[in-house]
């Protein structure tokens, strides 16, 4: 009974917190920042122009390129390490968040 009361109190407290969080979040993203492309070249210029012209496409590119680069770098570093003779795959117990 006591345990149920504690859980109920916790859920109630969390529920009470939500409206204040939502109020804090209200009408937030009004400040629009424009990318300054005057001193940029190459890839930086491309991404900055994309951001200025089509922010949705910029967001998709940012996600795809980040995921791709993360994957490619991870796999290639694993390969390099196993070539050296220090294979990480065999120590399966290790975790990184």
């Amino acid at each position: 009974m006591m345990r149920r009361f504690k859980i109920g109190a916790l859920v109630g407290a969390l529920g009470a917190l939500l409206p204040s969080l939502a109020r804090a979040a209200e009408g937030a993203s009004d400040l629009v920042v424009v990318a300054d492309t005057r001193v940029l070249k190459g890839f930086s210029l491309y991404m900055a122009n994309l951001y200025n012209e089509n922010v949705w496409m910029f967001a998709v590119w940012a996600v795809v390129l980040t995921a791709l680069l993360g994957g490619i770098l991870g796999v290639s570093m694993d390969l390099i390490m196993s070539r050296i003779g220090l294979d990480l795959g065999k120590s399966g117990g290790h975790v990184e968040h």
């Binding site: 859980i7 922010v55 570093m77 990184e96 968040h97």
Partner: protein, 345 residues
């Protein structure tokens, strides 16, 4: 020295790019070595390097996404990811991150994002430091007790999962890999609150989500670890997307940090093979405290001192871990060569 600065077009600031590389590399080394994120030092680090707070958070969360890709792939190979649970949790995570990001934007609008996020970080880092020092103390005590023959070695902990499983709000779901049957809303709620923290602080949220999965949802630890990594990846990707839409991300800075992190993560992970004992946890606790001190200094306007402390602390800890790695790896390679020669003979 102009070439050492990189222009960030959306944030409108010039950033010392070797600092970015060092932060990425250090997070890789420290994350790889201690097996816990490291994103907690990126947001304050970027802010201290000169990024406005909202950009520091957006850039950090995108960097988390890139970094977690490979660890998730590794874990899915071991069958430690409950994808059904992971995809259900994505609902809560996305709403949580969106709320966290909107809170950041709202605070930015009233000019309070820096102080509020900094003090939240101080609280969050105090919690990590407490956990690390408590963990160390517990390990030392249990080692002493294990030497004592009268000690049985029994341990206990608070587990809320059985009580929470009794709350049967439909739809009820069975998660095969985790082996649990509970209301769908339980993991969604857990992921929502960790998502808010992740979106607000720019972290992966694994530090909170993993224990929550174990103690509140009742997921076995190895599945909790894998599923949490999957969630870190998804939250990072969604965080990168939403912060990009809000114009609070610097993609080139993310890529520079990722290059450093990829190398650092390998060094940190390899170093774990050559070290034993709990003493190293103290070093980690000291890094957390140093990060906390630098945030407080930044808050009170001592920017140079803040930068020196955070960059100095992560450099020292990286050099220490690299020393362990290079000595151990050299020893291992020497032994392998000797064995090969002996086998050939």
């Amino acid at each position: 020295m102009e070439w050492m600065y990189m222009h960030m077009p959306i944030a409108g600031v010039d950033i010392f790019w070797p600092g970015l590389l060092l932060i990425g590399y250090s997070v890789g080394v420290i994350g790889g070595f201690f097996g816990m994120g490291g994103a907690w030092m990126v947001t304050p680090g970027l802010n201290i390097l000169g990024f406005p707070m909202a950009f520091a958070i957006g850039t950090d969360i995108a960097h988390v996404a890139g970094k977690s890709m490979i660890s998730t792939m590794r874990h899915s190979k071991f069958g430690n990811v409950d994808y059904k649970l992971g995809f259900i949790m994505v609902i809560g995570t996305m709403f949580g991150i969106e709320l966290g990001a909107r809170m950041v934007m709202a605070l930015e609008r009233i000019g309070q994002v820096g102080p509020v996020v900094r003090w939240t970080y101080v609280g969050f880092l105090s919690l990590i430091a407490l956990m690390v020092f408590y963990d160390y103390g517990k390990a030392v005590r249990s080692k002493r007790k294990s030497d004592d023959p009268s000690h049985t070695g029994a341990t206990g902990g608070v587990n809320w999962a059985p009580a929470l499983h009794k709350i049967k709000i439909p739809p009820m779901m069975h998660f095969g890999v985790a082996g649990i049957y509970c209301s769908m809303w339980l993991p969604v709620l857990v992921s929502f609150f960790t998502g808010v923290m992740a979106g607000f602080l720019g972290i992966g949220g694994g530090l909170l989500r993993m224990p929550s999965l174990v103690y509140f949802v009742g997921v076995p630890t190895h599945v909790a670890v894998g599923t949490d990594l999957f969630e870190v990846m998804m939250s990072g990707l969604y965080g990168a997307f939403t912060y990009s839409l809000k114009g609070r991300i610097e993609v080139v800075a993310v890529f520079v940090m990722l290059c450093g992190a990829a190398i650092g993560a390998q060094i940190g992970t390899v170093a774990t093979k050559y070290t034993k004992g709990y003493g190293i946890r103290l070093l980690f606790g000291c890094a957390v405290v140093a990060c906390m001190v630098s945030i407080i200094l930044k808050q009170f306007g001592f920017n140079a001192a803040a930068a020196v402390i955070i960059l100095g602390a992560i450099t020292v800890i990286c050099i220490y871990i690299m020393n362990i790695m290079f000595k151990g790896a050299a020893q291992e390679l020497r032994e392998k060569r000797v064995n090969n020669i002996a086998n050939a003979a």
